[in-house]
Every structure is written in C-alpha cells, then in structure tokens.
Symmetry: C2
Subunit: 261 residues, 2 copies
C-alpha cells in the first residue's frame, strides 16, 4: 500500500502569516500522498466580535447558533480554505479545497445530546474514502475545512481533530496512513511547562504508567486516547508536534510518535 | 461529443431561499453534464455594511480593497458556495464547490489598467478544461464561486459572467456546450419595461437591426456581445432567461436563444 499523510494544522500558527507560509511550503514539499485538515485560528472569533455575534457557552461547551455557523462557514470554508489552496498552488501543490459536503466526502448529522443542545454541530457518520482516494489518485491534494453537512443539506460545524481522525481511519483501508497533529506545542510533554520534555515515543504500556502517575497533562488525554483509537482502527502511526517542524515530524526527528507496539 | 450545460445563476434569486431552492432542484434534475457558476446576491454588500467596510467606487467601477476581497471570499467561496453544495447533495446531485484556485481550474492575474486601480480584481488567463472534464467524468458537478487566484497565491475577485463565458469557451473543445445566463429577467426584452416582450431568437443580423434602431436596452448590449463572442469561440448556443424557469430555458420554451445561424 502507498503511504498517506493525514495532517491536521491547528492552533494559532494559522494567524501568523510568515509561520503559516513556511508550514505550507513544508507541506507542499512532501513527496508522498497527503491531505490537510485545518481549523480556523482566531479569525472566526474576531469576526463574531466585529459583528457583535455573541459566543454562547453552555456547561463550558461552545454552542453553534445559526449566526455562528454562518461565520465559521465563511471563515473556515471560505477565507482560510481558499487562501491555503491559492498559496499551495503557487508552491506547485495541486490543492483542492473541500468541506465535508463537497463530493459528499463526509456524511454527518446534527449532534444529539440528552441535555445540551449544541446547535449546528456535526458528528460524523461516514467518510467517503473511495472519493478521497479518487481525488488523490488524480493528482490532487485535498485541503479540508471543518464544516460538514447532513442528508437534508444543513451545514454543520465539526471538530477538525475529529475530522482528521475519522479520515485517517477510513483511508487506512487503502493506504499506510500516518496521522499528524501539528500545532504550537513540541509534542506530548512530561512537564507541561517545559517544551524540552517531549516524550519521543508513546506506547500503551508507558502511557498507562504515565496516566497512573498523573504525569500527563489532563488536556492532552482526550487527544492521546483518540490517537490510540485511530491506531486500533488501522492507522499506522500518530505523530503530535510543532507545526514549524513539519519535515522533522515526518522524519521522526521531532514530536511524539504514538504507536501500538 | 456529449452535451454540457454551463449555467450562470445571478441576480437576487440567490437571496430568496424558496426560489433558490427550487432553482437548485431544477438544476439537480438536469440529466446531462452540467456545472454552475454563481454570483453573490446582496449578502456581500450586507456583510460589508455590517462590518463598516466602505464600498469604494472609482469612475462608477467597484474597487476591490483587501477588506472587500476578504468579504467576497468568505461570502462567495464560503457561505454561498457551501450552502449550494450541501443543498445539491441533499437533492442527489454530487456537487463539488470550487473557486478558480482549486485544482488550478482557472489561472488569472490582477487587472492591469492604465488609469484605474481596480484593486484585487482578477482577469482570466486560462481555464483548465481538462481538469474540469476529469471532475465531470468522475461523476462530479462543479459549483464555481467567482474568486480566482494568480501565480503568486493572491486571491482575486472575478466577474461571474466572465467566468461562465470563459469556462463555456474552453469546454467547447470537449463538449457541445450550451451557456445559460439565468437571472430575474425573462430574457432579452424588446421593451425593457415589458417582461412579455422577450425576443425568442437572436441572430447576428437581427441583433444588428435592433441595435441600429436602438431597440435593445443598453445594459444588455455587453452581455449579448459576450454571448456572440462565446459563439464565435465554439459555444453552440447561449440562452438568457429567468432562473425560475430553468427547465424551460433548457427545453428552449422560455428565454432568449442566441445563435450564430
């Protein structure tokens, strides 16, 4: 099977023009099959502020109202997605910008929860791996914004980490998939305040030890649990690390590499 | 050669949820190969107003400032494009939303003008007909937003009528192309105040007669001149008419049909 890198870019690097451009240069230079899932940085929050659209929180969870959905669709699937695509095209990467609705690559439904109405938030039913493979095989590099839709044509705000994970799992049927979460941190840290305490390799036994000793930053636990879930569904390797070192992450010379064995 | 309908939807119908949904139903039901080019309705102007971004005009021409470019990219390539795609998917049309940068389907450059600086406005160099054909042949229906990019990754605001025309011309090498301009008028009118005065068929000789007698509404002349230019570049037929009657436009039972002979 061919290799496929499923790369998530998150955090504030999207807001830093220079750093983001050099990330895209590194991404464009990857020779293997690849696709990019992006978040939205701070732009959506800023636009909501400028428009006076209040960000609703319920039990600490962000609620996607109709107005917020409009904003994230404009910012994620419009402004950020198309700027990434245009920049990659100028770097000789034949990018194609998509949201989950495009070519029906992701089927989702509005989140159902017994007590919280999250609003227009999507949970993923299915990734259309065959369609993504067809686009990749025709020489295109999918750039995916975290917006999906349901069977009735309703757009839905969807977590970008989850999209990357579900795509990585679905594509594992056809490729050796490496899932890379790149953001502003150097990796999974033993000491959350020390960027030099990166755990280079994380396997189930060591992870359980660290959790038992409460040595893992609580905020990272869901990310790592998701990484192991992806590995249990066929993904070969999950790498977490600094987006400014994308080439090193791919070469296994930076970041945290999570594997099952 | 197979048929291909290149359909431009413009005017205020995009702002009317019910009319627009029934237009999309008619579009989805077209059996032949098809693609859609859309404008932006009034949403971009409204968002600019809400954000306090002034719309600059110079000699009656709209100037695209950096702020306006951001707005049209968000509205056209984000909100409107993705809503069209999600609605078409729910109507069993496998739509894929694109701007000119995506898959490098349109190459453009920033408009150069001896006296007016139009700002971030794009003029088209080339339509990548082979790439569009590949997407269509794989069962996808391209939905194209009027945003392009230059070779340096700069996004550019680009006239949707021109995009439709240039795509129609380029695709004529591979398909029998019919170019349909659908909007809120019934067609080319003999009397601009009478929607019942639609000219059913317009050929060069008759058009010249009407122009000589000043019987054609001045605002329509550039559109019709463009239509004849398209016909001279291989497009088989240009149809102008009411978006609410898309099926009739395709069946030649409504609107104005412009042909060379």
């Amino acid at each position: 099977m061919d290799n496929l890198y499923v790369i998530k870019i998150g955090g504030n690097i999207i807001d830093d023009e220079k750093k983001f451009s050099s990330f895209l240069q590194a991404f464009a230079s990857i020779k293997s099959n690849k696709l990019l899932v992006h978040g939205g940085g701070k732009l959506a929050t800023k636009l909501a502020d400028d428009l006076g659209v209040e960000q609703k929180l319920l039990d600490g969870r962000r609620i996607t109202s109709a107005e917020t959905l409009k904003i994230v669709t404009m910012v994620y699937a419009g402004f950020i997605n198309k700027n990434i695509v245009a920049q990659l095209q100028s770097k000789n990467c034949n990018a194609i910008g998509l949201c989950g609705a495009d070519a029906n690559i992701i089927q989702a439904h509005k989140r159902i929860h017994p007590s919280i109405d999250y609003g227009f938030v999507g949970d993923i039913d299915k990734v259309n791996a065959e369609q993504l493979m067809q686009l990749i095989n025709s020489g295109l590099t999918p750039i995916i914004a975290p917006i999906t839709s349901d069977a009735n044509g309703q757009l839905l705000n969807t977590n970008a980490d989850t999209i990357a994970q579900e795509i990585a799992k679905a594509m594992s049927e056809y490729y050796n998939v490496q899932l890379i979460y790149s953001f502003e941190k150097s990796g999974v840290l033993l000491d959350v305040n020390d960027e030099n305490s990166v755990i280079k390799n994380l396997k189930p036994q060591y992870y359980n030890e660290l959790k038992t000793k409460a040595k893992i930053f609580a905020g990272m636990i869901p990310k790592i649990d998701n990484a192991f879930a992806a590995l249990n569904s066929g993904v070969k390797k999950v790498i977490i690390g600094n987006a400014e070192k994308l080439n090193d992450l791919i070469n296994n010379s930076a970041g945290t590499t999570i594997t099952n064995e």
